[in-house]
């Protein structure tokens, strides 16, 4: 399933880019992310905790930057497997930056998420609803983070 969003912020594009490239910026925006640690300059690992009603999931999560075209485009591929084998989940995130009028940058974001295993069987309906929300939170976190660190 695909989650898309975009927002604009007032900041120089290079500054936004640099911040995005800092290890862990993206990963730490993932809702429920804990203990994100850089493995190298392109890869970081951590634990993601998620809860949907009565279900709590703890995922071992790895994210790798796979396509970097400064200062406009980046692609990160993430992979999580649930502790207790409830399922695995893959995520592919693309962030595109575009300068627009008035010194603003448009941050367009799309993330493709795929869940397999028992988690997925639980219900397309619930997981999709959850993913939509997590996606929105991610965008929100990213925007907040960028604005507080780079914006203004």
């Amino acid at each position: 399933m695909l989650i898309e969003g975009k927002f604009t912020m007032k900041a120089p594009i290079q500054k936004v880019w640099d911040f995005l490239m800092e290890p862990g910026t993206l990963a730490s925006c993932i809702p429920g992310a804990e203990k994100m640690e850089a493995v190298d300059d392109k890869t970081w690992e951590g634990i993601v905790k998620q809860k949907v009603g009565p279900i709590s999931v703890k995922l071992n999560f790895t994210q790798t930057l796979s396509d970097v075209q400064p200062p406009k485009h980046l692609k990160a591929v993430g992979r999580g497997s649930a502790m207790g084998s409830a399922g695995t989940f893959t995520q592919e995130t693309i962030v595109d930056l575009k300068e627009i009028a008035g010194g603003e940058v448009e941050v367009a974001y799309s993330s493709k998420v795929n869940i397999v295993g028992r988690l997925a069987v639980f219900g397309e309906r619930i997981m999709r609803a959850k993913v939509k929300k997590v996606g929105a939170e991610f965008t929100g976190n990213l925007q907040k983070k960028l604005e507080s660190q780079v914006g203004g």
Binding site: I55, A86, R118, E124, R125, I126, A129, K132
Partner: protein, 289 residues
Amino acid sequence: MIKDFEHFAPKTLKEALALLDKYQDDCKVICGGQSLLILMRQGLVAPPYMIDIKGISELSYIKDEKDGLKIGATTTHRAIEKSPVIKKKYPVLAKMETRLASIQTRNWGTIGGNVCHGDPAGDPLPVLIALGATLTMAGSKGKRSMPAEDFCLDYFETALEPVELLTEIALPIVPPNSGTAYTKFNVIESDLATVGVAVSVTLGAGDSCQDIRIVLGASAPTPMRPKKAEAVLKGKKITDALLAQAGETAATEADPISDIYASEEYRRELIKVLVPRLTREAMANAKKA
């Protein structure tokens, strides 16, 4: 495969609350278990302790009291569906129950369990909210009550604390000249709602809309009241144009998802159709009342 757990079957509310206090997050409350067991069989929920409240008879009742109707949380769906007093005074509730899952599920599943599951596509909550229900929760430190519409916080998340139990659903007396209607749109008759709509209307002089509650199910992370849509109709003489406007407004207020059953767009379109349709039905019921 259901993981092993320790099972407690308290006979009284007090015993149950003591167990909840003791085990807190490590336990899960089961009553009919019609939703919970599905998750447990998938291994997605695996509590070490289960507090089984099915046998707490003090929580299973339907009482017709001076200030309205009281339904105990462990009352089965089927008991509500067949209750003469509910059929007479809150026919919409009985009718809603006849379309909830299957008879087998309604025989064993309970209204409290359904409400606490917090499924935004569940049938009872939209109707309860439309009827102005109040939910009472008990913990070892006492009781508290809240309007049913405040109960759900998010997808499958409710205001119920881990140490609390839902004990009672109270329905106020239906004001005169009032009517309620509920329907769900689905592709297979007995299925979960693709979109559910409940509407309660109180008619004033000249059949104007004195008061209205619209509740949408499966249209947002929780059952929701599109209050702007209600405002379109409240205090007005209802016309087709106003109803259409209310439908449009409700559709923009809703926050539905796209899934394999329906796209977000289609869900909004259904809301546009069903809100006017159900308001008309509720008005017709009010006139009959």
